[in-house]
């Protein structure tokens, strides 16, 4: 058995994926499908176009970006290999001792945490899920939910063995224990390392999405901020970045947007900011006729949420930083040395991944092409396998021989049934040689309810609502209180929003209002929002993003890293109050949401 098959068999025997991964992924797929029906009809098409444009013009966009970064004082670095990326980052870190790292899949790809620890640095994974899997030692099992292969009692055990004293395994308690350890580390650290979701070439800003607030801390507290990302993560302009953001969170975690959407610009006075782009064969993939679309990926994880193989086997079995269908496609392309050549076979080619992908990557067709490549290159095929297909071909190019061989196979199957009566692996018998029909099998079930009902997608619910009503509904759904005035309290941080997004319940803060250190220091965040600044979709913000730091807030910080249980108020204020200023003329101007 190949690597994936035996690793998956091991994890399946442990009962892990069946007990935790599958039910969570099934629910997540239902929730994200509902969100997919709620986003703008052309949102996925626009996101796909923005990504395809970027992949077709990588060199041009990087040249523009490099110039913008120079103007902003952001360091630009391009590494050809994982080793080079690690060496650049080590150079940038200099004599830093304590490094706070947030989630970055490219960080996993280049083995960053391990390499920095080898060099004697203290590295803390500051994302709650990553913190847990770092201690566990097997790495993340999902792109957006790294600890989804662990249940709460396993997480409690892991944290207890790490020295925490825990009375129970309540997900809120577990999340807050990790939060406290992370917050303490941020009190005294030398550098913050984050990923990046999209980097806008025209504006030279780094878009990063997060829910917990650890990226906010990492980008604002230490004197050095390094962002590490893939060479393909550039996008032409802010409009392109917003187009991607319109589909990212809805497909990833069934949120309209994540709690924090950063557009990071110039470093603060006294702060250094660098972006390290990692190629690792990406330019070759971009130039490949059959696989360039794989670089359109926005790392939402929808393909794995919907993948029946991922649901059954879990993400650890892939043994790659990139798991699930996108992992089975990009792993052998990023590392063409054969180590991941078996991953394209870890699929039934059911096509659920291709259907789920919001940026149109034909994943299951790429898996077919990769299989043909690996047979051509001899990386997975044995001599016996090639001989077997050759024999099959000889039989099935001759109808009489084919009929004879299927007849023989039927006799063999019947003989098999006489000798093998038990299921071969505890689950499946040999396929029936002719099904037995019972007269009462079709029994009518009048009045007997099914145990698990069929769920169909819920249609869009915003038609006919004006922007203000829509904003109130959506803000309420993300836990934001909307009021027409505010009674001040000690510990309030009060800021003015530049705009609001009706469909997502978000507010946009720019410049001084987006100062992360101030925002994270408050006990309650009070935001003044004028109804005449409301836009319907994120794309409407393109004219109000300004040119400095910008931050889109969609509810207070939160996590769902433990069994997808929602815990609010991780880093920064737990409470968010929006004072919505409406005047009659504004309401008249806004009118109705077009159908």
């Amino acid at each position: 058995m190949s690597g994936f098959a035996s690793r998956a068999a091991f994890d399946i025997r442990s009962g892990m994926p069946e007990a935790s991964t599958r039910p969570v992924m099934r629910q997540l797929a239902v929730d994200t499908t509902r969100m997919r029906h709620r986003i703008a009809e052309d949102a996925e098409q626009r996101a796909t176009a923005a990504r395809a444009d970027a992949i077709a013009h990588l060199e041009e966009l990087h040249a523009t970006l490099r110039a913008r970064f120079a103007e902003r004082g952001i360091g630009y670095h391009l590494a050809a290999t994982p080793e080079e990326a690690v060496s650049i980052i080590r150079g940038l870190l200099g004599n830093a001792k304590r490094v706070a790292k947030s989630k970055t899949m490219v960080g996993e790809e280049i083995g960053l945490t391990h390499a920095l620890r080898e060099a004697g640095m203290e590295v803390l994974e500051t994302d709650i899920g990553e913190y847990i899997v770092d201690i566990e030692g097997r790495g993340p099992s999902h792109l957006t939910a790294p600890a989804i292969h662990l249940n709460r009692s396993q997480i409690r055990t892991i944290l207890e063995e790490h020295g925490e004293d825990l009375p129970d395994d309540d997900p809120t308690r577990l999340s807050l224990v990790v939060r406290d350890a992370v917050a303490a580390f941020f009190q005294d650290c030398d550098a913050g390392i984050t990923g990046a979701n999209q980097v806008s070439a025209a504006s030279g800003r780094i878009a990063i999405v997060e829910n917990e607030g650890n990226v906010s801390l990492g980008a604002s507290h230490p004197r050095l901020h390094i962002s590490v990302t893939g060479y393909e993560k550039v996008v032409r302009d802010d409009a392109g970045a917003l187009a991607v953001l319109e589909v990212l969170a809805s497909n990833a975690t069934a949120q309209p947007l994540t709690s924090f959407t950063h557009f990071l610009a110039d470093p603060m006075p006294g702060q250094e900011r660098h972006v390290v782009f990692v190629d690792n064969n990406r330019s070759a993939i971009a130039a490949s006729e059959r696989y360039h679309e794989a670089l359109q990926c926005i790392r939402c994880g929808a393909c794995m949420n919907n993948c029946p193989v991922y649901r059954a086997a879990g993400g650890i079995a892939y043994a790659s930083p990139y798991m699930g269908p996108i992992g089975a496609v990009v792993s052998p392309l990023l590392w063409p040395d054969g180590r991941y050549a078996d991953l394209p076979f870890a699929s039934t080619l059911c096509g659920a991944c291709t259907d789920a992908c919001p940026v149109g990557i034909p994943l299951h067709r790429m898996l077919l092409d990769l299989r043909a490549d690996s047979v051509r290159d001899g990386t997975t095929s044995s001599r016996a396998e090639r001989a077997a297909w050759r024999a099959w071909r000889t039989l099935f190019t001759r109808p009489a021989a084919a009929r004879f061989s299927t007849h023989a196979a039927r006799l063999a199957l019947k003989a098999g049934h006489r000798t093998v009566r038990r299921p071969l692996d505890g689950t499946r018998t040999l396929p029936a040689a002719s099904p037995v029909r019972r007269p009462d099998a079709l029994i009518p079930l009048d009045g007997i309810e099914p145990l698990a009902p069929y769920v169909s997608a819920i249609p869009h619910d915003s038609e006919g609502k004006d922007l203000v009503t829509l904003y109130r509904t959506r803000a309420d759904a993300v836990g934001v209180t909307v009021a027409d005035h505010c009674d001040p309290r000690p510990g309030d941080v009060v800021v003015e929003a530049d705009a609001g997004i009706a469909e997502t319940g978000s507010v946009l803060l720019t410049g001084a209002n987006a100062a992360l250190r101030t925002l994270l220091g408050g006990r309650r965040l009070v935001i003044h929002l004028h109804a005449n600044t409301l836009v319907r979709w994120p794309r409407g913000l393109v004219t109000s993003l300004g040119s400095r730091n910008a931050l889109i807030l969609t509810g207070a910080s939160r996590t769902a890293d433990i069994e997808k249980n929602l815990v609010r108020g991780i880093h920064g204020a737990e409470e968010m109050l929006v004072v919505l200023h409406t005047t009659p003329e504004h309401q008249a101007e806004n009118g109705q949401v077009p159908a």
Binding site: A9, P308, T397, A400, T406, R428, P431
Partner: protein, 239 residues
């Protein structure tokens, strides 16, 4: 009415040779003159395993045998997908055009029946409850889910209970089930549990390969489920 070729999927002869008579009964009721073609394969097993030269050689024979036909019918979403979506891409130049031309004459059996002008004249009756498993190729390559649901809806007295997680694969996947047996078994356990949860004891699908997998999983885990093809269901319900 029309003369049609009915292709027997290669595995059908191994698993359920009786399927062919159900299909012939149904097509003849619609007034068609049926010629059964056996001993052919669309090439999918080799194609999905990466052996494209072998797939092309075998698939070419199937296309050749349909050269003279105007209508070629396959009682399988999976084989139909191979012939219509993938097989022609294995050929270049003029052969590609010929392959495309022949491939367009192929129809999946339920799609053919559903669009048949004589269908409104037929009466289907069967008392009881069934659930429906949507094969992946039937659902996502051919986009025919509504065709099967519509045909089941024509059967008087039959209650259809839709599956929870209807879009999830049963874990068959051709050679996948041999290459990754533990994963395939874990997948079919989930599918069998979904079927069981509906309360129905008969699961229907347009693809016999999925049904063989679900049947093996049900027998192995002791769940009383019968697996019926759409062809068998329609043939048994035909008055």
């Amino acid at each position: 009415m029309g003369r049609v070729l009915l292709f027997e999927p290669c595995y059908q002869r191994v698993l359920r040779p009786g399927e062919t008579s159900h299909a012939v009964r149904l097509l003849e009721a619609l007034g068609d003159e049926v010629t059964v073609v056996g001993g052919q394969c669309c090439g999918q097993p080799a194609y999905n395993s990466g052996y494209r030269d072998d797939a092309r050689a075998v698939g070419r024979e199937m296309l050749r045998s349909a050269r003279e036909a105007t209508v070629a019918i396959m009682p399988s979403g999976s084989c139909t997908t191979m012939v219509k979506h993938y097989l022609p891409t294995l050929f270049g130049g003029q052969s590609r055009e010929q392959a495309d031309d022949i491939a367009t004459r192929f129809s999946e059996l339920t799609a053919y029946v559903s669009a048949h002008p004589q269908l409104p004249g037929l009466s289907f009756q069967l008392a009881g409850t069934v659930t429906y498993h949507d094969s992946c190729h039937y659902r996502r390559e051919l986009r025919q889910t509504d065709v099967a649901i519509g045909l089941i809806g024509r059967i008087e007295g039959l209650e259809l209970r839709r599956l929870a997680n209807e879009a999830e694969c049963c874990g068959f996947g051709g050679t996948f089930n041999a290459k990754m047996p533990a994963v395939s078994s874990a997948m079919v356990r989930a599918r069998v549990a979904d079927v069981h949860a509906t309360g129905a004891q008969v699961v229907v699908s347009a693809d016999l390969s999925c049904l063989a997998q679900i049947g093996a999983g049900a027998d192995g885990t002791g769940v009383p489920i019968e697996t019926w093809s759409m062809t068998e269901l329609l043939s048994r319900a035909l008055q």
